[in-house]
């Protein structure tokens, strides 16, 4: 759904019109506008500016308010994207245990606050239903190997794990939100096959993937991953929220574009990459990228020229800089606004197998949420596809800029104010802000 459609849908609902059918996008069931939580009792403000003592856990506290059936509001652009929640004993207890700073506010203060929001580039978004969350990871993945899993665990947000068998079985319909991290959907084991040959973790990865491919009757792992990629695209098309980081962003798109084209090295499927692969890719089947050139060398842990930084390509590797979040109009562009709520605007960059996305490889419909000014790449992008949306965030771990295999896991209790991790958690709460019809 285009941002304008979203606003149109909301506007129509304010007026009582059937916006969902007209917009042709996600079916919104907003009951009123502004959807203000009535201050039936005392209220707590969770400030998300520098005054907050644990930004990441604040998302967990808010999520659990909704999960318990309570209502919360997201105050876009107000003090770093603060939350308003009921001052019930459970919430207060949870905040105290988590070390999340909350400020009791009176009804009069809430009225003042709403007045300030109405008069500025801010908005109030009600958070109505806690999304059901799934994270796509192999069964043996350590919880500390994926920034989103770490953020969810730290914030105390429940999630389920799914992998290829569950995706192909159709289990994604149970979830509102799906996360992908550093999976290689081209089926080439992140192209570590040669450089990490003989390491136990790689051998285990190869064995597990081949076993699943065999069990599910696929000719090879690349074929399996292409089928999984198609299912994920179908999930988004039918209204799902997809959030992907690191190499999952690039390889998912390459797998979708490579229908009928061999882009996998011979160690993955027994045949070499088609030398003309780049010219044969079907970019009409992808969500975000277009016209990329596939990396043909099996020895280079690089998939294509979508990534601007090419961390494992000695001749093309780019140094890390910083990226800047775009400031959107909260009232006109609520969706990108939600995804960009943060107490910092300029954030330090961090590497991943896919670190960034070249501007000239983006489809015109893509919304850029953050970029490195002056650089030919962007960091954080978002778009609509069918009835759903996708968000891609380059890099592996916002608090481990040079992440290497075997590095110790990031301990988020040492980074409770991480702005990069906040962006991840914005994505988790974002689906709570609107409702859709059941996905097929």
């Amino acid at each position: 759904m285009k941002r304008r459609d979203f606003v149109g849908a909301v506007g129509a609902l304010i007026l009582g019109g059937p916006a969902d059918r007209r917009a042709g996008g996600p079916v919104l069931r907003w009951s009123r506008r502004p959807p203000v939580r009535r201050s039936a009792g005392p209220t707590l403000l969770i400030p998300m500016d520098e005054a907050q003592s644990d930004h990441l856990k604040a998302y967990g506290v808010t999520y659990r308010v909704i999960k318990r059936g309570g209502s919360a509001e997201w105050l876009l652009n107000y003090r770093g994207g603060s939350f308003l929640v009921p001052a019930d004993p459970t919430t207060q207890r949870e905040a105290a245990l988590a070390g999340v700073r909350m400020v009791p506010v009176s009804d009069a203060q809430v009225v003042d606050l709403r007045g300030a929001i109405a008069a500025a580039n801010m908005d109030v978004v009600p958070l109505e239903k806690a999304p059901e969350i799934a994270v796509y990871v192999p069964p043996n993945a350590a919880p500390w190997d994926d920034a989103v899993t770490m953020a969810l665990q730290y914030a105390g947000i429940e999630f389920a794990r799914v992998w290829d068998p569950e995706v192909l079985r159709g289990d994604l319909t149970r979830y509102d939100w799906l996360h992908l991290h550093h999976e290689d959907f081209t089926g080439q084991y992140s192209k570590f096959f040669l450089s990490y040959a003989g390491t136990p973790w790689l051998a285990d990865m190869v064995r597990r993937n081949e076993e699943v491919a065999r069990t599910l009757r696929f000719s090879d792992v690349p074929a399996l991953k292409k089928a999984v990629a198609r299912r994920i695209r179908g999930y988004v098309e039918n209204g799902g929220f997809l959030f992907a980081m690191c190499s999952a962003t690039e390889t998912l798109e390459l797998a979708l574009a490579a229908e009928g084209v061999d882009i996998a090295a011979s160690y993955a499927d027994g045949t070499p990459v088609d030398p003309q692969a780049s010219a044969k890719l079907h970019w009409d089947r992808t969500m975000a990228f277009t016209d990329a050139q596939v990396e043909l060398s099996p020895a280079l842990a690089s998939f294509s020229d979508i990534d601007g930084h090419q961390v494992n390509h000695p001749g093309k590797r780019q140094a890390l800089g910083s990226y800047t979040l775009f400031a959107f109009s909260a009232k006109i562009d609520p969706v990108p606004s939600m995804l960009c709520q943060c107490h910092a605007e300029v954030l330090p960059d961090f590497y991943g197998l896919t670190t960034s996305f070249r501007r000239d490889r983006l489809k015109p419909s893509v919304t850029v949420l953050a970029d490195e000014p002056g650089a030919p790449w962007v960091k954080y992008i978002h778009g609509d596809f069918g009835k759903g949306t996708w968000t891609f965030f380059g890099g592996h771990d916002p608090e481990d800029p040079q992440h290497q295999i075997g590095d110790p896991p990031t301990d988020l209790s040492l980074h409770p104010h991480s702005p990069g991790y906040r962006l991840i958690l914005n994505n988790v709460l974002f689906p709570a802000a609107k409702k859709r019809e059941l996905k097929t």
């Binding site: 207890r93 245990l97 070390g99 665990q153 280079l300 000695p314 001749g315 988020l412």
Partner: protein, 574 residues
């Protein structure tokens, strides 16, 4: 002023003048000013007069590239080659320009012409490979180098092949190339070691296997020694190097000196000890003043590693007579005295201190007196400790005097001295220790408590078990709400940190003594840690939640939250 003068000269110099030196100076200044096109004209004029003028050629390439006219450079470089066909620099420039213009076919033709002119030189292959590698085609660059190696023969292009292998991350192949390069010219051995020092951890075993197993000669072992230093394994590196030193004493000395300097970059007791070994070996390879300097360096390195006997051994001969000892000996001796004091040998340390006192700096003397005071205090000789510190009134000395008062059980004096010492005496940890102890002493609210003094002295001596007992005994003499629970909780914390079975009992007693006082959070946290270690997750969670919610202002709340995160599985358990 000079810049302005040159600028005026540049501006005033008419273009028709034909003075290559003046043109070159003018061109350089114009380039510096960012006037690339004008600079290019001047460089071109120099080349009209001297077609193979290398400085002008490089200048012309730079300025034409900056002004977008690199195509114009090609005739100049052609003329230069006609004049000096044997100059690899000029031919390399041609390749670079053609490559920058994307004229790959012309690059190939230029390389062929160069090879035809000089078939036995590796230069054309090297330059061509470099061009290809710059574009990211490392496999292509390697192919070119291999072709060159086959055509030229010998050890040609092997170092370049090693570097390409490193760039593609193929450390096994890089090892083979580097060894071959060092075999053909031993000057490459240090470069080989430095390069292989960057090997990824998962490939280090493979590299070592090739060097020690496949090749296995002294050269390969010396390369391995260098690599091991880079991998943070200086002990193994030294073992290899020491057993495989070059036969020539001069080369052996250079190898050991280089190794010692590389190990200096590592900061660990092992690295310091290895450095000591290296300098000790150096002392045996050299004579006279050089050998003495090596012994002093070795002594300092051993002292830094905490290896007192080795440091003493190194200084044994040269420190016999302080008046004739070579420069640097006093500094090494100061480190040894500190080491002796810290090792619990205050009498030896004091004797040497008095022998060398006159040759030590004021700062070193003050520092050593504090070491001596601490050393005497630890032995329980508190009067000698006070005597050692003397009338030193620095904040560091006041802190030491505070500890001595504490060990005597004079709590009020100790608190007063700690307060006078302030927060900047010694390290941050030392200041924190003083604050903790002062707070405990104040909770006891008595002028003197000899049992507590004994407890702290036991702790200082490293007798934690004894200290726990003394603290428990001291607690029994104090009122329940004035120090007893604090001493019990403190004793419990000591017991917990040393896995002493009494920890749980002491924490429970502390809570029973005063369940709402300042020691209660310490006891709750301690009991939660014990429960967590024993796998009693629910109990740990309950205690931590009680601590966080019941004592929200306690300084232990962040620690409790962190442990609660760990208990909940929200952060890694490491």
């Amino acid at each position: 002023m000079l810049g302005a003068t040159i600028a005026l000269v540049v501006l005033a110099t008419p273009l028709r003048a034909q003075d290559p030196a003046a043109d070159l100076a003018a061109a350089t200044e114009l380039e510096r000013q960012g006037r690339a096109q004008e600079a290019a004209e001047r460089f071109a004029r120099v080349l009209d007069a001297s077609p193979a003028h290398v400085v002008a050629l490089f200048g012309l390439e730079r300025t034409l590239q900056a002004s977008g006219g690199l195509e114009r450079f090609l005739p100049y470089v052609e003329r230069a080659i006609e004049e000096k066909p044997e100059d690899p620099g000029i031919r390399g420039l041609q390749l670079r320009a053609l490559g920058a213009l994307g004229r790959d076919d012309d690059v190939r033709r230029a390389v062929d012409r160069w090879i035809a002119f000089a078939p036995r030189t590796p230069d054309p292959y090297r330059e061509w490979a470099f061009l290809i590698a710059q574009r990211g085609d490392l496999a292509g660059a390697r192919d070119v180098l291999e072709r060159g190696r086959a055509a030229v023969g010998g050890g040609a292009l092997v170092p370049e092949l090693a570097q390409i292998s490193v760039a593609v991350g193929d450390w096994v192949e890089a090892t083979r190339y580097w060894y071959a390069a060092a075999q053909s010219d031993t000057n490459f051995a240090p470069a080989a070691g430095m390069s292989l020092a960057q090997t990824r951890p998962e490939q280090q075993a493979g590299v070592l296997h090739i060097l020690l197993g496949e090749f296995g000669d002294a050269l390969a072992r010396r390369i391995a020694a260098d690599a091991l230093v880079g991998w943070g394994r200086p002990g193994e590196g030294w073992t290899l190097l020491d057993a495989n030193l070059p036969g020539s004493p001069r080369e052996a000395e250079a190898a050991v000196r280089r190794f010692a300097e590389r190990v200096r970059l590592l900061r660990s007791p092992e690295a310091s000890r290895v450095r000591g070994y290296a300098f000790e070996r150096l002392a045996s390879l050299t004579t006279g003043a050089s050998a003495q300097r090596a012994r002093i360096e070795a002594a300092r390195a051993f002292a830094a590693a905490g290896d007192r006997p080795a440091a003493e051994r190194m200084l044994a001969d040269i420190a016999k007579d302080p008046t004739s000892a070579p420069p640097g000996t006093a500094e090494a001796m100061a480190e040894l005295i500190a080491l002796l004091a810290d090792a619990g040998r205050p009498a030896d340390a004091e004797r040497r201190y008095h022998e060398w006192e006159a040759r030590l700096s004021d700062g070193a003397r003050e520092d050593l007196r504090r070491h001596l005071a601490w050393a005497w205090a630890r032995t329980g000789e508190l009067d000698r400790a006070e005597s050692a510190i003397g009338d030193d009134s620095s904040v560091v000395a006041l802190a030491v005097k505070g500890w001595i008062a504490l060990f005597r059980g004079e709590l009020a004096s100790a608190v007063e001295l700690f307060r006078a010492a302030g927060p900047y005496a010694g390290t941050r940890d030392e200041a924190t220790d003083r604050t903790t102890v002062a707070a405990l002493a104040q909770r006891a609210n008595v002028e003197r408590a000899p049992e507590l003094g004994t407890a702290f002295l036991s702790l200082e001596r490293g007798d934690t078990a004894g200290a726990v007992s003394h603290f428990e005994q001291a607690a029994a003499t104090l009122p329940a709400d004035h120090g007893r629970s604090d001493m019990l909780a403190f004793a419990g914390r000591l017991a917990l940190d040393t896995k002493d079975q009494r920890a749980a009992r002491l924490f429970t007693l502390a809570l029973a003594s005063d369940s709402t006082g300042p020691a209660a959070p310490t006891a709750e946290l301690g009991l939660a840690e014990l429960a967590w270690r024993a796998g009693r997750v629910d109990e740990a969670r309950t205690r931590l939640e009680r601590l966080i919610l019941g004592y929200p202002e306690s300084a232990l709340v962040p620690q409790a939250r962190r442990l609660l995160d760990r208990v909940r599985g929200a952060i890694p358990n490491s």
